[in-house]
Amino acid sequence: MHKPISRPVARVDAREKTGGTARYLDDLRFEGMLHAGTLRSDRPHARIKNIRVPDLPEGYHIIDARDVPGMNRVKILVDDQPFFAEHEVRYVGEPILLLAGEDRGAVFDLLSGVKGEYEDLEPVFFEGKGEGLDNFAEYVIKKGNPEQAFREAADIFEGTWETGLQEQAYMEPQGVIGVCDRDRVTVYGSMQCPYYIHKALVQGFGWEEGRVRVVQTVTGGAFGGKEEYPSLIAGHAAFAAFKTGRPVKIVFDRHEDMVCTTKRHSAIIRIKSAMNRDRVTGMEIDITLDGGAYAGLSSVVLQRAMFASTGVYRVDNVLVRGRAVRTNTVPAGAFRGFGGPQAIFAVEMHMHSLAERAGVSPLNFKKRHVLGTGDKTVTGGSAHEELRLGEMADLVASMSGYKEKLKRFEKKRNGNGGKRGIGLSLFMHGCAFTGSGERDIIKAEVRLAKRSDGSVEILVSSVEMGQGAFTALKKIVAETLEIPLDRVVYVNPDTDRVPDSGPTVASRTVMIVGRLLMRAAEEMKKRTDAGPFEIVRTYEQPPAIRWDQDTFKGDAYPVYSWGANVVEVEVDPVTYEIAVRGCWGVYDVGTPIDERILKGQIDGGVAQGLGYATVENMRIEAGRLLQSNMTDYVIPTSLEYPPVESVLMDTEYEYGPFGAKCAGELPIVGAPPALGAAVQNALGVRVTKLPVTPEYLLEAAGNED
């Protein structure tokens, strides 16, 4: 390993962030700017009879559905979600109108005087069953002959796993500023996808594209929470700016952010396996995701969950059924892993149960089933790259002392003192958009501009949101052109200046956009003229990928990144509190573009995964979030987890820049099942849901007495 490019460099955006000079959305001020607050539904399902607005002083305005010049629908995948609810509200927190004015305090005072009159309608909730509900999407994947496998099975085992909500809890709350200038509108904001917002505004205004401009501001974390959500509030700010003729700023406080923005889909996953001679010969998997009130991205999250449903294992006969249901709760959306964490948790815990039944150690049982190079995935595609899962499993086991500890902890389980446990997980993440998404939907375009002073500017719509895109993409260009890093320019994307290279999601930025930039740089290098000039590159799909989006057959992803985790816990025998005592990870992400940045993604992803698995408890009761501030929604602190010991596999992906694959989401996927398995080892109880709270363990241990 240790390609020159992997060597860490000083992160290009560190200085202004550490010194507090970086300007996030709320730090921006425009002359004549108004502040806007939002009236939101306080009930899960109701018909709006009337909204009574008190007399407003001069300079204070209401903006609602009537002020949407174009289509009152937020463009995501399906046009079902209004910018402003008109006749019906479908979740607590749904926006109904804005109140804008010069003094922020006065805006919220006046807003509290706005009264909605509603006729309550019957709400629909998930409530741990997920049955009989309307759905946004429903799919079936079939591989081989599962019916036969079950007929011929020597043993059949079935289990159900539930995963809960998770809030992204980026440290910078959402915010946008809309500015209207004669016949153009510009929205500044904390975002992942400038062009998603651009398209949504074009549809909301019904204007031609040139009249809309979107500019990303320094983004303080996102994790998927600023993927599709900002399109909604960008519309709000833009319509308000258009109506009032003044710039309008919307910034959420933490409570509002938690109540009304998208969350990770909660899930119920049932897996039934047919076993013959201690091998899994068939699987039947049923996935239900709670999509919340509107379609959003649920269909795609569901697809990814289904494509991940058999984990890293080769199962020849599979039937996967999945659905994303509609409930009267806040719409679920993108969050690091995007359906993968839910599915991998279930299949990993299921494999643990199977291993137990077979009387085989989890490590050996899993190794027996892992995909090898050339094996077919659940969609009948091939993992084209070299697969080294067995090796990775062995490596993480030896790093952590897994084998010896597993036995020792099991023996000591009924003794006194803290219960120690250790668990191992194997996992993967499909890189970039599904199948032919890059080729057929995104069609990424990048530009690389050579300036007359010799500097080179990267023109892409990818954003820096903390994950290191600025540094990584600059490195790729600088390394290819063999010029110093500081000769490469890359600023926050502005749709007036950059082409649509696709959204900053799906761990695609380095692998797809980075590669396009590398190709552009290669082309630029060949040019002998001094400039200025621009190189344009558009996406070319690697030749071997075959995918049918209608039947879900073929290569669901161009390539996968793989991982192996071990987590060691100690469970307090009196209180069932879980302390994490060790985390180890082995990751195959191809060539790291910067080892230090990658380490940051690993450390952060593992912490987020462990949080998801333990303390991040978010529940809905009668459509209302019980935890909606940082006091009650608990994310990990510096005292929670020990350092992650991680190792990278030395692999290279032919179609990634310098051999890089995807890395941003992978680390969150493996931690929850490793933790779940560790708790099982410690207590001898089955862990069937996330988060694993002390309250849950008390019940589980009590029920098994």
Binding site: A10, G19, G20, Y24, G220, D603, T631
Partner: protein, 156 residues
Amino acid sequence: MRIEFVLNGKEVGVDTDPAKRLLDVLRNDFGCTGVKEGCGEGECGACAVLVEGRLVNSCILPVIAARGLEVITIEGFRETERYRVIEEAFDEAGAVQCGFCTPGFVLAAEALLRRNPVPDEEQVREGLSGNLCRCTGYGALVRGVLDAADRGRGLW
């Protein structure tokens, strides 16, 4: 009410409601936008400043509580030698990702090292326990503070 205090070494005053959050006074009246609002409840530490050298969450401190006292924000602290050591150590460790929490962590590190110039890992974690970071998982931040203590021997 006129409330005067010393901000980043300079005597300042503001006519305001004594119960106004110090955070808002710093950001809106004095342009200290490096002090951030992450939660408004004193949970995340993105708003942390030093008052008389002690770390406090400015989002839950009424400005009257700072009257006549010395307040230091990242805007002031970044001019010091100690800051440069912390900045370098943070960069080497990979402690900066989205950056929103970073100024708060810098001041938390300063507050810790003032009291304990040679902390061990547990003490560093304890000292940072009131600052939330969602990006780094804390590993790099802890390493950064330990490294700063090392590099800055004699400064604290």
